[in-house]
Each structure stands twice: as C-alpha cells, then as structure tokens.
Symmetry: C2
Subunit: 210 residues, 2 copies
DNA sequence: TGCATATCTTATCGTTGTCAAGATTGGCTT
DNA sequence: AAGCCAATCTTGACAACGATAAGATATGCA
C-alpha cells in the first residue's frame, strides 16, 4: 500500500481542505469495516499533515459531526427514492423503515458515526426533523389514518417508529435471527415482518377504537 | 486524586486478578460518564502494571466482553425484580420494556459496553436467550395471548419487542422528546406510551383477527 | 509594495494498546 | 524437603493516536 498520492505537488494552500477532509473521511468510512476512523488517517488520505485538520475543525468530533450531517442527508435522499419506487398497495411506513435499515446495512460505518454523533449531542440533527427523513415518516403516518391536527399524537407515533427503526437497524445483523430470516424467506421479508409488527399501531388508528 | 491505593503491599501474585480487573472495570464504568474505558486505567484501578491484564485477557475487548456478560446478568435480575413489583392489571410486556430502558438510563456506560460487545460478535450473549431477559419477554408474550406452539411467531414477536426496547433505550435521552415527555407527564409516562404503541401487536393477537 | 492573517508544516507531549524479556512465586515431582 | 516448571507480574519498549505550540508560506487588503 502506497502512501495515498504524494506525487501531485499540491500548492501550499489547499483551496478547500475542509471539503477535502470530509470527502476523505467518507472514503475511509466506506472502505474500513471497523468504523474507528483516525483523524491522522483522514489527513493522510487527504494528503496533508496530521495537524492540518485543526485549522478547519476544533477537534476530531467536529469532523465526525460533519460526516454525520452528510450521512443524514444521504439517508433522507435514499428514503425518498425508495419511497418513490414503492408499490401503492404496500405499507409506506414499512417501506420507509426498510429503507432506513437497508441504509444502515449498506453503510454501517457511516451509520455508526451518524448515530454516535446524535447521541453525543443528545439530539437528532435539526435538519432531520425539519426537512429530512422524519418528515417522511410523519407524512406516511397521516396517510395511514393519523389525525394531522393531533400534534402530540403524531409526535408520539413518529417517535415510536423512529425508535423501532433504529433498534432494528442495530440488531438486524445478529446471528440469532438467521433461523427466523430463513423461515420468513430472507432478510427483506424479515424486515417487513418485524417492522410490520412494530408499526401495527398506525393501522389501528384508522378505526377509532380508542 | 491519589493513585488508587498503593499503600497496601499486595503480594506479587494477586490471587484472583481476573476477578479484580472485572470489578475495577465495573467501578470505572459506573464512575466515568464517558464510557471510553482504558485498559491501562483498569489496571491502575486494580493496582497492577499495565501489562498484567494480558495474562488474563487476550486483549482489551475480552475484558469488555467479561464486563458485558456481567451487565446482561444484572439486567435480567433487575427486570425480574421490576416484573415482580408490577401491578397485575398492567401490561407486563410494557413493564419489561420500561425496566430495560431504565437500566440503560441508570447504567449508560455499562449498557453501551454490553451492546457494543453484542454488535462486535454479531450476536446476543447466549445466556440471554436461554435464561435471561429474552425468556421473560417470551413468557409475557405468551401470557398476552400468543400461541406458545407457534415457535416462529413467538420468535418474531420477541425479536420485535427486543428491537423496540433497544431503539427506545438509545434514543430516550434526545432533547427533541422533551416536549412530548412534558405533555405526557414525565419520562415514565413517555416510555409507557411509546412502548405501548410498539407492542400493540401483542394485544392484537388475543383476537384471531388475522 | 508591505503587512496582517489564514493556512499548512514540523516538532513535541501525554496517552493508549500491545508485546517481549526479565523477575518472582506457587505447586508438582521426586 | 529440594528443585524445577509454569503461571503470574514487572519493567521497558514500540507504534499510533489526539492535541498543542512554534515556525514556514501564501493570500488579500491597506
């Protein structure tokens, strides 16, 4: 393994090192299986000295924050795309959940960074609620019969769905589930079944059974 | 801060250093807010050299494994205790979920180690399924009307409950939920509502509505 | 043109995980 | 009971890490 690309005589001032560092970080997260990304490795990948990042990020966690924000954007985009491809007859809430979990399966390191970052801040990224994936969930809930004027009811349901999706995303890889997956006919069917159970309450709301 | 207890002239051979290291680790996890426990710090706390642990654990992750196993045991114990105190009229499944989340709230560092360890092994600790908290969930599911002979149905429901509980445990601290918590009358009520929604399918099973 | 400032580098510190080699001890063999 | 072996613990070392300080270099504005 050669030391990245040293040949190119980069000018002393990089131009947009911040951007380059974020992209280098994303590249490493996609490549590495273990998500423990090192700030020095990111600098190396970007072709700068170990101390250079500190002129653009206060510390390592701020770089991870930037990577997390990109990740949440990417997730929302993918969920929107998957939702557009969903058959009208199918449960759109479950489709969103499957898209969420699929993203976490295909980008495990990035997803880990995304959620760790949220946990450190004890908050979801604000954009998520306003224009991101959370809004898609709320729309699907209203579509499935929830009263849009009942703000707290909607909030409760959205919270429940989000927690369920995250829980499934973090556990779906466990080996104990293999027999059940096989029995149900694969991981997608497994996800459909589990998420279907957990979002049953949305269907229940259609009939005002209290 | 003094260097733990150096005064006691410990004999060259410790007696049961493995045990002492696990307990030192647990002590540090309870004290530290950030769960990043350092192997050297554990050795320091136990009063031995930085290399001593390597005669009892292959590497740092094996020490964490041992801490995780203790944690899962402790969780099962607490869930059993909480379940015993539950009012017969209340939903036992929700009570178990609340106990689970409460444990993760009161022992965040230990819980993090527990779950990280599970994720690294892509498996829950085996004792969990056989005699631990998972069995309590299955019992509660059967009690709520699930057909005990339908193994895969029970597995699916248990899986769903476990995923939901984990998801809630990891997100309950988010600030975005504060308004909803306040509206529902506190965190316990919040948990009861969210977990109640997510485990609605268990109640549904009572009536064979398909 | 000249200078303040932003940017990047080199050098360094303290910490960590891990290993190798030596010191010390407990227990088994005879 | 004497002696050796293996387990245990120590010291010492290495590479990698996050982070800071001090110096080099380029940019942009006066």
């Amino acid at each position: 393994m050669e030391p990245a690309r040293v040949a190119e005589p980069r000018p002393y001032h990089h131009g947009d090192l911040r951007r380059a560092l974020v992209e280098a970080g994303r590249r490493l997260l996609e490549a590495e299986n273990g998500s423990d990304i090192s700030l020095r490795a990111v600098a190396r990948e970007a072709g700068v000295s170990p101390a250079a990042p500190y002129h653009h990020f206060r510390d390592k966690s701020e770089l991870l924050d930037a990577l997390a924000i990109e990740g949440w954007d990417q997730l929302a985009e993918q969920m929107r795309a998957d939702l557009a491809l969903t058959d009208p007859g199918q449960d759109r809430l479950v489709a969103l959940g499957i898209a969420y979990v699929r993203f976490s399966r295909e980008n495990p390191a990035i997803y880990r960074v995304m959620f760790d970052c949220s946990q450190n801040h004890e908050a979801m990224p604000s954009k998520l609620r306003e224009e991101g994936a959370y809004r898609l969930v709320c729309d699907a809930l209203i579509e499935s019969g929830l009263d849009p004027s009942d703000e707290m009811g909607l909030e409760l349901a959205g919270t429940a769905v989000w927690c369920a999706a995250h829980g499934v995303a973090e556990m779906v890889g466990f080996r104990e589930f293999s027999p059940l997956k096989a029995h149900l006919g694969g991981e997608e069917a497994f996800l459909r079944a589990v998420l279907g159970q957990l979002t049953l309450f949305a269907a229940e709301r259609k009939s005002p059974a209290g």
